[in-house]
């Protein structure tokens, strides 16, 4: 019964953009219809997904809906629907008559395909849904394809997503070979180590490319920065998580993982997490910075999954439970707070028409609700209490500490590097969001763009507030969602008996609620006291200390590169910032300028040069492409004769 609700929800999303195609381009009716249909679809889907928990799991040769599917289905139905509402103002059809219809068609399709991937129990269905998802996302990224930067980001995405699909074809072919059917079932115990490793590595590469795991993240920053903001939210919030879904699913099918698989995931997650946040600190573009934070959070999720794999190798149920529950809960949490952040970044861009941090400033006064939402999202992404990011990172921390093996426990000392790395990630994230929030919302406006702005309307702030509410709910009452994630752990790990683990026993979730509430009470009390005192004393405004300089300007505030300079300096070995600084100046210096930017180490440092080299080598064969049809036919003859001779 409940699976039909999910199918209906998927269907609603899939067709939501179609009626708008038959409306006039400057009419908003199609957009409103699409949003309403999306909301109905999501409501049906969420009811169906939650309902399916109370009935035996649907599992046949085509469809499988278990707790893991439900965990991924809920954000897939929630976030795109909210993004659609957000788009009513952000991407109003009347203002985007050339691409609004295309955007909504593929927005609905990508949502439906994402949901399709999570319920597929058959590799053919999985791949079909996967390709619909991947191609729709390409058209979403290239919404404004007349811009050269946008189309470049789109092509890069297309190349990487097809590389991922290629890996998946190989992966599913191997699975088909082993199990003898296209149904995704647990692999037999007697699987050869080499074959199992090949399946695992193909899954890591194929799904890692989609998830944006460093160093496979090359498409992610450009695509997130160039897409419309609600599309960025959808991509960062749910689309890249489908890569995690695939990895989680395949890992659950493989029997007896060796220890180094978990170790590999832990290391990959750590690299992705640390370097993701480090590269984020170096960015000047608000959305590109948020995109690098997606790389970081995917790293944290992968660390959790790696921990769960280590736990399975060591037969430690507590590590499996903490790692997987932490990873899956972080999938939710990142989807929630990253969507808040992209929505508020979009509100800033909508109001100011720029996403360069160095052109913004002082927006908190004009856009208080957006600023509040961004601040809460920032606190959540830094993994601070009382918000949801803290809960999932706490689970992973606890699991990592347990996995080291204290006293007589079986453990793996190798995972000892992970907790400090996770702490480093958290600290750097705080620094990064201090920079962003300070640069964008505090201080004074640095350009005309930022001077005359208005608060975003209810269509844009409403979805943000809903998501912030979800963040607070999970942060304050993690016990509400803990049973679902326990179900997810049982569904993932075939050797765990139901009832073997209890997250409440393993993690102090009650204390999280108590401490969170206490913290909120403290903040509210302090705020009220401060407000009373301010009203009592009155306020006066004056300039800050300006080193004796008589004419301070807004441009003398910390910029995004000056704030980050010290941290960028610490990581100069990997960031390799390009700095264009003025040289020695005469006594009365002329007008000069300073620029710095941080290119992506994998894309600009490794891939582009190697592709240029490849192009140089292959261009010596260009004479073969003579443009002469007879020559081409001649090649076919030669090839045919060679093939016949070869036997």
């Amino acid at each position: 019964m409940s699976e039909w609700l999910i199918f209906l929800g998927i269907g609603c999303h899939a067709v939501s953009g179609v009626p708008g195609l038959f409306r006039r381009r400057d009419s908003d009716a199609g957009q409103k219809f699409a949003v309403v249909l999306g909301l109905i679809g999501s409501a049906l889907g969420i009811v169906g997904a939650v309902g399916s928990l109370w009935q035996p799991p649907v599992a046949n040769s085509v469809i499988k809906i278990d707790a893991i599917s439900v965990i991924f289905l809920l954000p897939i139905f929630l976030i795109p629907a909210l993004g659609g509402v957000y788009g009513l103002t952000y991407w109003k059809q009347a203002e985007h008559i050339h691409n609004g219809q295309k955007l909504r068609l593929f927005y609905g399709l990508v949502t439906a395909a994402l949901a399709g991937v999570t319920i597929a129990a058959n590799s053919i269905l999985f791949l079909v849904a996967w390709e619909i998802m991947a191609l729709s996302a390409f058209f979403l990224i290239t919404t404004e394809d007349e811009d050269r930067m946008v189309s470049e980001a789109g092509w890069l995405y297309l190349v990487t997503t097809h590389t991922a699909t290629l890996c998946l074809f190989a992966l599913f072919a191997l699975l088909r070979n082993v199990t003898g059917s296209f149904t995704l079932v647990a692999l037999p115990d007697g699987l050869g180590a080499g074959l199992a490793t090949a399946i695992f590595l193909l899954a890591v590469i194929g799904f890692g490319l989609k998830a944006g795991l460093m160093p496979l993240h090359v498409w992610l920053p450009g695509a997130h920065a160039m897409a419309p903001s609600h599309v960025s939210a959808l991509m960062s919030g749910v689309l890249i998580k489908i890569g995690i879904y695939g990895l989680v699913r395949i890992c659950s099918l493989l029997p007896h993982p060796p220890l180094w698989w978990g170790g590999l995931l832990l290391v990959a997650g750590t690299i992705s997490g640390v370097l993701g946040v480090v590269f984020a600190i170096g960015q000047h573009d608000l959305k590109r910075l948020l995109a690098y934070h997606s790389v970081e959070n995917i790293g944290i999720i992968t660390m959790g999954l790696g921990l769960a794999m280590v736990g399975r190798s060591l037969h430690r149920a507590d590590c499996v439970a903490l790692g997987l529950a932490g990873a899956l809960l972080h999938v939710w949490n990142h989807g929630l707070f990253k969507s808040v952040l992209f929505f508020s970044a979009g509100a800033v861009i909508h109001a100011t028409h720029t996403c360069e941090i160095d052109r913004l400033g002082g927006l908190a006064k004009a856009m208080p609700r957006t600023a509040l939402c961004f601040a809460i999202g920032a606190v959540a992404i830094c993994g601070l209490p009382p918000l949801n990011g803290f809960v999932s990172e706490l689970l992973i921390y606890l699991g990592l500490f347990r996995s080291i093996g204290i006293g007589h426990e079986t453990g793996w000392a190798g995972s000892a590097f992970a907790p400090p790395a996770l702490a480093l990630i958290g600290a750097l994230a705080v620094a990064c969001f201090v920079k962003v929030f300070g640069g964008v919302f505090l201080g004074v406006a640095r350009s005309e763009h930022a001077r005359h702005v208005r608060e975003a309307d209810a269509n844009m702030t409403g979805p943000m507030l809903v998501l912030v509410g979800c963040c607070l709910l999970i942060g304050l009452a993690p016990l509400l969602v803990a049973p679902l994630f326990e179900q997810g752990v049982y569904a993932w790990s075939p050797d765990l008996a139901t009832g073997a683990v209890s997250l409440v026993m393993l993690a102090p979730l009650r204390w999280v609620s108590v401490a969170g509430l206490a913290l909120i009470v403290l903040i509210v009390v302090a705020g009220v006291l401060l407000g009373l005192r301010l009203r009592h004393c009155g306020t006066a405004s004056s300039g800050t200390w300006d080193c004796g300089y008589a004419a301070p300007t807004a441009r003398m505030q910390y910029t995004s590169s000056s704030f980050a300079q010290m941290l960028v300096g610490c990581f100069v070995w990997v960031l390799r910032p390009r700095v264009h600084a003025p040289g020695e100046q005469p006594l009365f210096s002329r007008a000069t300028q300073f620029r710095s930017h941080v290119p992506d180490i994998v894309l600009d440092g490794a891939l582009r040069p190697s592709f240029r080299f490849g192009a140089k080598i292959t261009s010596s064969f260009r004479f073969l492409q003579a443009g002469n049809i007879h020559a081409y036919l001649f090649y076919i003859v030669v090839f045919l004769i060679l093939l016949l001779l070869w036997r």
Binding site: Q625, I629, L640, I641, L645
Partner: protein, 213 residues
């Protein structure tokens, strides 16, 4: 095997050489038309029991390959005023020689291919391969778009002869598939000829290289 079939295939092989060696486009088209008629006849010969359906099929093939398509080609020659000579890249003698080499190679290859027992010793496979190679030879060595169409037809005839191997096993599939393929080919080539003469006021495919990237 089937002496009548082999006899017809020998005629088809000879017609390949006529198509390669003739200097007049008309002669080439006539040769290909005759080849088409002979291929229609092979359908009847290849079947062990001749039914009405086989006759209808053969009639359709003869009508299409022997009458309709050649008439379209003659029509094209008249409409798009083309000089009546073949205008090859390499001379007629050289094409004939290459055709001979191709046929020799075809006989050689047919020995190495894994073929069902009852077809060993028959001329079907060498004739098919040789006709395919001849088609390719015409395609690669002739300049005019209309010669390209003819080359494509010869190529298709070669594939049709291959189809004779399967004519008992799955007759309908093979025949309809080949005919459909042929129609598409004529269609596409017709468009190409029309477009070339419209856009470039020439029907020489040499000018196509201007479209190179």
């Amino acid at each position: 095997m089937n002496p009548l079939l082999d006899l017809i295939l020998v005629a088809v092989l000879l017609l390949n050489f006529v198509a390669l060696g003739a200097s007049q486009l008309r002669t080439v088209i006539h040769a290909v038309a005759l080849q088409g008629v002979l291929l229609g006849a092979t359908i009847v010969v290849a079947h062990s029991t001749v039914t009405v359906w086989v006759i209808v099929m053969a009639g359709a093939v003869i009508a299409l390959k022997g009458v309709v398509i050649p008439r379209m080609l003659f029509h094209a020659i008249r409409e798009v005023v083309i000089r009546r000579e073949v205008d090859p890249i390499i001379g007629c003698i050289a094409s004939l020689l290459l055709g001979g080499v191709g046929t020799a190679l075809a006989v050689l290859f047919s020995k190495t291919l894994p073929i069902a027992h009852e077809h060993i010793g028959s001329l079907v496979v060498p004739a098919a391969l040789s006709t395919v190679l001849t088609g390719f030879l015409i395609l690669t060595t002739r300049v005019k778009a209309i010669s390209q169409v003819v080359g494509y037809l010869v190529l298709e005839n070669g594939i049709f002869i291959f189809g004779l191997l399967l004519v008992e096993a799955m007759p309908f599939l093979v025949e309809i598939g080949v005919l459909l393929d042929l129609f598409v080919a004529i269609f596409v080539m017709g468009i190409i000829i029309y477009q070339i003469s419209q856009e470039f006021s020439t029907v020489s495919t040499r000018k196509l290289s201007a479209l190179k990237e």
